[in-house]
Amino acid sequence: MYTEIAKSYLRKEKFPSVWCPGCGHGLILASILRAIHKKGWKKEETVMVSGIGCAGRIPGYVDFCTLHTTHGRALAFATGIKFARPELNVIAVMGDGDAAAIGGNHLIHAARRNINITAIVFNNFIYGMTGGQKSPTTPRGFFSSTSPYGNAEPPFDLCNMVKGAGAVFVARGTEYHLPALDTIIYKALSKNGFSFVDVIVMCPTSFGRKNKLSSDATQNMEWIKSISIPKKKAEGLSQEELQGKIVIGIFADSLRSEFVEYYEREILKEGKCPKNTKSD
């Protein structure tokens, strides 16, 4: 049942996927699909938008209205779709380079605007598709094809950033904690406003290999488990104790008036566009 639900939303003829064996992307996708199923969203009223990268390929495999755009810009396209046709359910799936580097500005502005879109980041700390370069979430000291001596830069905490920018729902999950992830994504989809889920996922091909972790999917999961720490538990710990850990849980769940609803209520004078044209 668990996988059957997800399968019923796939464009099965498009498989096998481009993803490597052991890649966690499929697990996260299945979690998203279960949440959509639980929401009862109709396929033809659901839009999935992506940018570029391994996560960017997701829309091609799911049976919705799907848009595979340019690197980093998924949320800007999604904003146009949602604003133009608010009755559609809009999800943006992105990689960490996609969302936090080239698309970082779109991410903070979508959060500030509080437009009713769910953004899900497949955060594997690396540019997988281009061969394993470091990203803005690569932890300090970790290796990649462009940090052969270890990454000199500190990483972004995406949840902190997006919460600070005003998102009404912000959470982090992992590919190891799947039942919790299902709940988080369901809550994100249910939220009226900009919701954001940072999902920690393994890229065995690049991140795993470069950092001498493992190419074995189960061992990778164990590694993710070992660095994850629930928010409640983390609250009592010092900065030193949290070194190298990833805090998971829900960081924001608040209320703020949603952008499109505000526009329709306060600014729009007339319901239908175009009016009075022959073409309509």
Binding site: L67, G80, C273
Partner: protein, 378 residues
């Protein structure tokens, strides 16, 4: 008949609404901002939506997103913003998503001359985004034409499923002059072809309906995939070289095969001319003055005005060149259209350029000096 005195930028906003534009996304930039300002005011009155995005890249992305839901959508920008939009002009060309991009040209390169006119983006409009693609670019010469031609821009984008660039300049943008609002009957509004096949049979790039496949809206019951990757008729990515070749050829053909319908030009005193100016946008107005002044001195000067810049009026210019002693291209750049004109003229007559890229408009006397150089003596 209603008459207004309005700037080119305002006329663009009015015309866009008349064309059925329901969505604008943009980012402030001189000298285009009045288009956004006017639409932020007027769109809500007609049920349309206005959004100021975080940059020009996002602006065109939002426009394309809105267009995929079936709304006619546009953005407006200028020089540096137009540079940023190149990424998504390519996406719109590849995904075949109708949209209109207004570029009020100002002096460049880089931030250049923000408040001065230029026509320095004609080649960027043609080839600014990477990869082989055709583009439609139109250039108005008056407030009146800003209104009527922006409607044409929407019509062409809808008809050919393509981005259309509206290439105006700072002079036309800010010049306030009379606009006579055309009556409803004289305005033709085109809307994209929608599929009539059931959703399960729909393919967003299905060529069995011709070179411009019908485009369904997201949210209309049709599920489909659009990608910036090379794709087949189903819309899904492919790197098959045969399919790639078919796609790129069709993207070219759908514009080139229809170039006679897309290319719009205008003549002034050209019938008996021995010498002609080729000009567009604000410079065409100065060129008209130059023609009148030359005629007073007995010089048979004419004007050939480009309204469509791309696809280029090569056939028309080839025809004219047969009966001209020389052609003078007048433009606010350092001669960007010269090689394009020369390849149409093919040596049948001399081709000269009077170009300025100093932030000032080409004047009638600049043109008349060039006419003297040609040395037609009567």
């Amino acid at each position: 008949m209603k008459e207004l005195v309005i700037s080119g930028n305002e006329a663009i906003a009015y015309g866009a609404i008349r064309a059925g534009c329901c969505f604008f996304a943009g980012y402030p930039i001189t000298p285009s901002s009045e288009v956004a300002e006017e639409l932020s005011l007027k769109l809500p009155e007609v049920g349309g939506r206005f959004i100021q995005m975080e940059d020009e890249i996002a602006s065109l992305a939002a426009v394309i997103g809105a267009s995929i839901t079936g709304k006619k959508a546009m953005t407006a920008t200028s020089g540096p913003g137009f540079s940023l939009m190149q990424e998504h002009i390519g996406f719109a060309a590849m995904g075949e998503i109708p949209c209109v991009i207004v570029n009020v040209q100002r002096g460049g390169p880089s931030t250049g001359l923000p408040t001065h006119p230029s026509q320095g983006d004609v080649m960027q409009a043609r080839w600014g985004t990477h990869g082989d693609h055709e583009i439609i670019a139109l250039s108005p010469s008056s407030s009146q034409e800003c209104y009527t031609l922006i409607i044409e821009a929407f019509n062409l984008s809808e008809e050919y499923r393509t981005p259309v660039i509206f290439l105006t300049d700072e002079v036309i943008a800010h010049l306030r002059e009379k606009l006579v609002l055309p009556d409803s009957k004289s305005i033709n509004v085109v809307t994209r072809k929608k599929p009539d096949v059931p959703p399960e049979n729909y393919k967003p790039f299905d060529t069995s309906f011709g070179k411009v496949p019908p485009l369904a809206d997201f949210g209309s019951g049709y599920k489909f995939h659009i990608t910036g990757l090379t794709h087949d008729e189903t819309g899904f990515p492919t790197d098959d070289s045969k399919k790639t070749a078919v796609l790129l050829k069709r993207l070219q053909d759908k514009i080139i095969d229809n170039r006679d319908k897309i290319v719009r030009t205008d003549n002034f005193m050209l019938d008996d001319a021995e010498l002609t100016i080729i000009a567009y946008g604000a410079v065409a107005r100065a060129a008209k003055e130059a023609v009148l002044a030359a005629r007073e001195r007995g010089i048979k000067l004419g004007l050939f005005r480009l309204i469509t810049i791309w696809p280029f009026a090569d056939k028309e210019i080839a025809e004219i060149s047969k009966r001209m002693k020389a052609i003078i291209i007048a433009e606010m750049n350092m001669g960007q259209l010269r090689t394009t004109v020369e390849s149409a003229v093919k040596g049948r007559c001399n081709v000269l350029t009077v170009g300025r890229a100093d932030g000032e408009i080409v004047t009638p006397s600049n043109i008349l000096e060039k006419v003297k150089e040609v040395g037609i003596v009567h």
